[in-house]
Symmetry: C2
Subunit: 544 residues, 2 copies
């Protein structure tokens, strides 16, 4: 992830670029107008449950691409050149941060080991299968010069799922909390794993692949994962501590919100300084902020942060799919493959097959492994759920596109036939998997899991439910903060329960630490002192 454009942006421009001003202003206007269009059309299509926002944005993007292609007489179909910097710096952080901020933490941490198994080990399995499969099947086809590094990159590119973006609209966090937390959590860890993997591949010497190097990559990944998580958690805890200690909301709601946004951004940017994974850091920063900081701020700030973060994430997602849609018709890449359309199609089919196999190869075995450690039957992943997990993670999205552009183009352009075919194949797979798999997922889920029980109570402590918090406030007056204490009492009541559920032990000790030390220091649900003049007091007296 290069941050060089920031340096550029902050340096005044010479007169040399004055000629391109008008064009870029037109593009920005067009893009903003298109996003508005996506929002309105997405709203109108909301009733049709098989559609989702991503597909709407994709289709609008393709239509606009056709229009631009006709207007420019076949010269170009898109108005921006794709930049992975734009993606990694502007679009991904709000999406991932919001994911962490809105995730149901209880489910996430309860399934933490399974999520890590799927996200890290599973991605590695998928990577190796796609890598070896691609070498075996594509090497003998006449598709230009691809070396071992390219094949390794192909493995990483097609191991990156896009569950974060698409799943929001397919699985429901309230209806199937267990599945949602698995697929969603896997998606986040997968994002981090595939990016780390891709960077490792680009840096190491392909001539000498041995066990030590592979061990080194694994160790690197472990270090990255731990330190990024700690950095993100530290950022979140610091914001919680400052806001709790200083009662910042007493003077200004804006300061609280500003502090939360800036601390999250700071923990993301610090990873760039320390060469860590920004995605992981910002994800865990979001989790910590929703667990501690969010409970320390005024009611206004709670509503504001919840919706402001979700809105930013929503805009970023829409922009992304719109762009991918427009990029589909990029004439420059298609003309390389126009003389052999069958070849591009067969490459795409082969890769899509590898994606399907690669995912199946880890979902079913790892589910089996995971089930071995669970004692109670309702905690196991049943076969129907395994199929859902397998299917829901088949979508490939913006991360794949960004990595493919990084590997196979130079400044968004390519001159080599093999590279062009890889780019068009990536676009084909992203489009096909998002639209076709995406459309099928909803009926499939309702077929496989017709009456998914509501596992979790509706009274959760996540930021995703300030509605319930305030509705209870409207009904019971000032009871909401007192209610918070109720959750603390739901800990395992006997030693027998603890012994029968060993996987819960870590969770239980974490809860003890949380109640005894973390929450008194950093605040959190039910642990913000309810004294006159405190933010909680003021917020209840009509500050909302």
């Amino acid at each position: 992830m290069a941050f060089g454009w920031m340096a550029q942006q902050l340096v005044p421009l010479g007169k040399a670029l004055a000629t391109s001003d008008h064009a870029s202003v037109v593009s920005i206007n067009l893009f903003v107008a298109l996003i508005c269009g996506c929002i309105v059309i997405g709203h109108l299509l909301e009733e049709r449950r098989w559609m989702n926002e991503s597909i709407t944005a994709l289709v609008i993007g393709v239509c606009t691409g056709v229009l631009i292609l006709l207007t420019t007489k076949g010269k170009s179909s898109h108005i921006f050149i794709f930049s992975e910097d734009l993606f990694f710096i502007y679009l991904l952080p709000p999406i991932i941060f919001n994911a962490g901020f809105q995730v149901k933490k209880k489910q996430f941490f309860r399934n933490f080991m399974t999520i890590m198994l799927f996200g890290a080990v599973g991605t590695l399995i998928s990577f190796f299968i796609i890598f070896f499969g691609a070498i075996a099947l594509l090497r003998n086809m006449d598709i230009g010069s691809l070396d071992i590094g390219d094949f390794l990159a192909i493995g990483a590119i097609f191991s990156a799922t896009d569950s974060v973006c698409t799943l929001q609209q397919v699985l429901n966090q309230d209806e199937t909390p267990f599945l949602y937390s698995l697929v969603f959590g896997e998606g986040v860890v997968n994002d981090a794993t595939s990016v780390v993997l891709f960077n490792a591949i680009q840096n190491f010497d392909h001539a000498h692949v041995d066990a030590i190097i592979i061990l080194k990559i694994v160790a690197d990944f472990g270090y990255l994962f731990l330190s990024s998580t700690l950095l993100g958690a530290f950022g979140g805890l610091l914001s919680a501590y400052i806001i709790k200690k200083l009662y910042i909301g007493r003077h200004s709601t804006n300061r609280e919100v500003a502090l939360m946004i800036l601390m999250a951004y700071l923990s993301y940017m610090l990873t760039a300084l320390l060469n860590l994974s920004g995605i992981l850091a910002v994800f865990f920063c979001g989790i910590v902020m929703s667990h501690y900081t969010w409970h320390n701020v005024t009611e206004c700030s709670r509503v504001t942060t919840k919706h402001a973060f979700a809105t930013l994430s929503f805009i970023a997602e829409t922009f992304l799919f719109l762009y991918v849609g427009m990029d589909v018709l990029d004439i420059e890449k298609w003309k390389f493959v126009s003389n052999s359309p069958g070849k591009s199609l067969s490459v795409s089919s082969i890769l899509l097959g590898l994606v399907l196999v690669g995912r199946a190869a880890f979902v079913f075995p790892l589910s089996f492994l995971s089930n071995l450690t669970k004692n109670s039957p309702h905690e196991r992943i049943i076969f129907k759920q395994q199929v859902t997990i397998w299917w829901a993670g088949l979508m490939r999205g913006a991360v794949s596109i960004a990595l493919a552009y990084n590997q196979f183009t130079r400044s968004g352009h390519t001159e080599l036939r093999g590279n062009a075919i890889m780019i068009t194949s990536t676009i084909t797979i992203v489009l096909f998997s998002t639209v076709v798999f995406g459309l099928v997922t909803k009926p499939l889920v309702s077929f496989l899991l017709p009456h998914s029980a509501k596992h979790l109570s509706s009274m959760s402590s996540e930021p995703s439910s300030p509605q319930s918090l305030l509705s209870s406030l409207l009904e019971h007056g000032r009871g909401s903060e007192v209610d918070g204490g109720g959750e603390i009492l739901t800990r395992p009541s006997s030693l027998r329960m603890l012994l029968s559920k060993p996987t819960h032990t870590v969770h239980y000790y974490w809860r003890k630490l949380d109640d005894a030390f973390m929450r008194p220091v950093f605040g959190g649900r039910g642990f913000v002192p309810f004294s006159p003049g405190s933010p909680t007091e003021q917020s209840l007296q009509g500050r909302i």
Copy 2:
């Protein structure tokens, strides 16, 4: 305003910039951390009423500048090079939009003519006085080569007040609504006038100045003002219409918020396409959105938009003052004046004197003119208020700095002695006026206006008071939307009243149009149908 950097930013970088990556990541981290520091320290100093956030940020900026100067051993004091693009594209729009969104509209429109008189005519008077004064007093001093274009630019640079930023903390919208709306409204119109003036000066031929050219500039300004206002209002109305017509909040609060942000940004960017004033457009877009759109959205979206826009504006302001503080010690400019420190000081003093005189020369005469048109004595601007208006608009800020950099530097650097002196003088004046005048303003206002009556009722319909809206909701159940009708009934009840208050006639007819046509079509307070399933319904049923 050049938008070229956007083109740059969206194009992937070559490898050439890879060396600067690390430095820019460090700068961004430092800057974000500093803004966090400003927020925390500003909060701690809140009790001392003579301090304000701007001064805190300035002081922290200067301290950081000293540290960087020491660290880099006197090579540089700042980490970014000032870019007027950054200012005009990132920082100014949220500040101005939020200003329009939070302004008390009733007061603003009641004093519309006076505000326009002060903002447009007053700025022109101030411009001419500083222009002629600078020619008369500075031409014979040995300060390098300054041509007539430079002197015209000096007039525009020092006519741009900074009331928008600093006043927020000095005058209180609730305590002195009349004065606040005057000074604040003047500040916004002044921003637009001085930028338009500056652009006009840069474009026209200085050799042939005659009446026709001046008339043309005035006509240009009128056209710009009208069309920009209409564009902004159109953007606001469109968002109101879409959200009202489609009940977007029914499915997603995020869509509403996203639509509001994007429409505001779109109306700002469209002005760049049509060569209009973005500042005016986004200001009136903010006003229209707070009058119509804001009442059509769910309660969640109201709280979110109100605080999110205020937070963005707050961050932008803090960044600005922090930057100005760091830029003070820019060694490159000071070394030009180091051999004649007295000269730079005397230039600054002369210009500061001209600023004082130039403002006095329009505040008192125009107040007299304005008073002639008012019949009732309590609508007139009394002498003490005139002194307050004069004083409160003396601060010079970021607009002056941005214009000075645009005129006297090339890519942030300068080689000419005259230009360097003008830059250092601008910085001196901005610093002196912000800190010294800023510190004096608060005691002065409380000395001049010791018991400022609360003119306006507390039950206003602006977004700045969702507190009262929700507290009334908590008390009276669902009465809030019905209460809104009460305001409509406060129209002048007899023809006699109309004739005795001619200045209110326009306002009255606007209210009639608003009630009869605008609000039924575009929504607004009390005009959103309260039917089951509507956003209002849902929001009251515990969606907050």
